[in-house]
Each structure stands twice: as C-alpha cells, then as structure tokens.
Amino acid sequence: MSPRPGRISPRPESPHAHRVSPPPSAVRQKDIALIDLLDRLLDGGVVLAGDITLAVADVDLVYVGLRALVSSVAAAERQGVTLPQ
C-alpha cells in the first residue's frame, strides 16, 4: 500500500465496500464518505486518559478544506449545476 498524499481515497479493500447509500453521484458519495470518516475518527472514538500523545498533524486544514468542498458541492447542486465527474 503506497501512500498517496493529498488524494481523496474511497474506502479501499474494505469488506464493506458496498457501503449502504443512495448516491446521487459517485464523486459526491466518495467525498461524503470521507467527511463521515473524518467526523468519526477525529471527533469520535474512545479517548484514552493518561500519558498519551495524539500524534495527528495537519488535520485542521485538510478537514476545513473538505468541509468547504462538501458545502460547495451541495450549493452547486441546489442551483442545478451539474458537476464534472
């Protein structure tokens, strides 16, 4: 598995690759799945108490960027714009 920095990946090699979803478009579904992933992994989950390091770098910028993306996709769709695939 080679790192692909900066690339928005769909869920690779997942046993649940058939994620339940009524997808309006493949691009959008992929982005929403990534936002849902970020919401859960960065804001949910058990936080251990004690001497631990949260070694996450650069999260905020990427996170904000993706939120803006989803926002703008939704806005474009409201205006009837068809986004390029």
Binding site: R40, V46, L48, D58, A68, A75
Partner: protein
C-alpha cells in the same frame, strides 16, 4: 511506540489486515478485554486519508469477530505495557461500553439543508437573528425527515451543524440485522423528499457511541 486502534472482546486476531504504515497488528489482553495495536520505531500520523482508512479498516475487521470500541484516530502510547495499564485501570468502563455496542454498527445520515440565507436582508443584528431563525427552521425540518429512522436504532447521536456547512448529520447505532431495513428507509425518505439531499454511509465502527452517552 505503539499506535492503538481499538478495544475489543475478540481476543484473538484472525486474518487481520495491516495497520497504519503497514504495521502488523498485535493484541494485548487483560481480563477478557484486548487492546489492538501496531508497533513502530518512528510514528507520524498525518491526516492522509490512506491512514484514516487504515485505522477504520482495522476497526471494521475486528467488528467481524466481536464487540469493538474504536479509539480516536492518532492515539499513540509509549509501549504495550502502557496499554496494559490502561486496560487495567479502565477495564470496567470498557466492558460496560462494549456491552452497549455489541452486535451493532454505526450508520451516518446527512440531510442537506435547503437554504442558508434569509429572504430579507435587514440591518446587522436583524440579519443575524433572521439567519439564525432560518437555520433553526431548517434543522427542525431535518428533524422531521429523520424521525422515522430513530425507532430503527438502538441509540442516536446528533452532530452539531458546523459553521460554513449546510448539512445536518446524525449517527445511528443499528443492530447488524437492521442495516438493510435502515438503508431501505433512507431510500424511502429520499423518495418522499426529492427536494432534500439525503446520504447514508456505513457501516462504521461505533465511534459516536463510546463516550458513555449521546453527544
């Protein structure tokens, strides 16, 4: 250094995937509860989606074999002994949380809000008040749309609407056997509300249901 993925009552690993940076998974057990981790000489966990998916892939795999409490992304401990100490100290709390999520997965539903600007633009304070009112109406509308999903879930967690976004997001803790009926209900809601954009992703690990209460 070790990267920790999850707490689980599935003690033995079977055909497990590799973890972050291709690290092989290991487990340390204490009184029937295991912590699953990978060991690394050096460890950086940037926000690369590849790493996020690697974390979730491990959680996903463990859920095939038992109840799982996913840890927040980026949890790093000094060594396995530190993890054993956590299991020793918090074992009772973990056992309780495991019993709550056993047999269930998390599904995420988003409802795209229809508009975020008030029709009439008045002075500053009026404008802000009006915008807040519009947002509240939209959230109420999303609430009504989502209401039929809640009886299908063992628990529900609402995420706050983030500034600058236009979606209401809610998490549902759903028994595995109910995932398909739940998805069918989401499709029905989308059909009944063609003006809204409704999405459903999952199954996820129960990230939103591991803090002892709803969010």
């Amino acid at each position: 250094m070790i990267y920790v993925y999850a707490i689980t009552d599935a003690i033995e690993l079977h055909d497990e995937p590799s973890g972050v940076h291709d690290g092989p998974l290991q487990a340390i057990e204490h009184e029937g509860i295991a912590g699953v981790f990978s060991s690394h000489d050096q460890l950086e966990v940037p926000s690369d989606p590849e790493l996020l998916w690697a974390h979730e892939r491990v959680v996903d795999h463990l859920m095939e074999h038992g109840a799982v409490l996913p840890l927040r992304f980026g949890t790093v401990l000094s060594d396995p002994e530190a993890l054993r100490a956590v299991l020793d100290k918090d074992g009772a709390r973990f056992a309780l949380l495991l019993s709550r999520v056993r047999g269930c997965v998390e599904l995420a539903v988003r409802v795209g809000l229809t508009s975020s600007e008030p029709a009439v633009v008045a002075g500053g304070a009026d404008y802000m008040r009006e915008r807040l009112a519009v947002r509240e109406q939209e959230e109420d509308a999303a609430d009504r749309v989502l209401a039929p999903l809640r009886p299908l879930a063992r628990a529900t967690a609402r995420r706050p609407v983030q500034a600058g976004t236009t979606t209401v997001s809610e998490s549902y803790l759903v028994p595995r056997a109910t995932v398909e009926p739940f998805a069918a209900e989401v499709r029905a809601l989308q059909a009944q509300n063609p003006g809204l954009s409704i999405s459903c992703t999952g199954p996820w690990g129960p990230y939103s249901f591991v803090d002892g209460g709803g969010r």
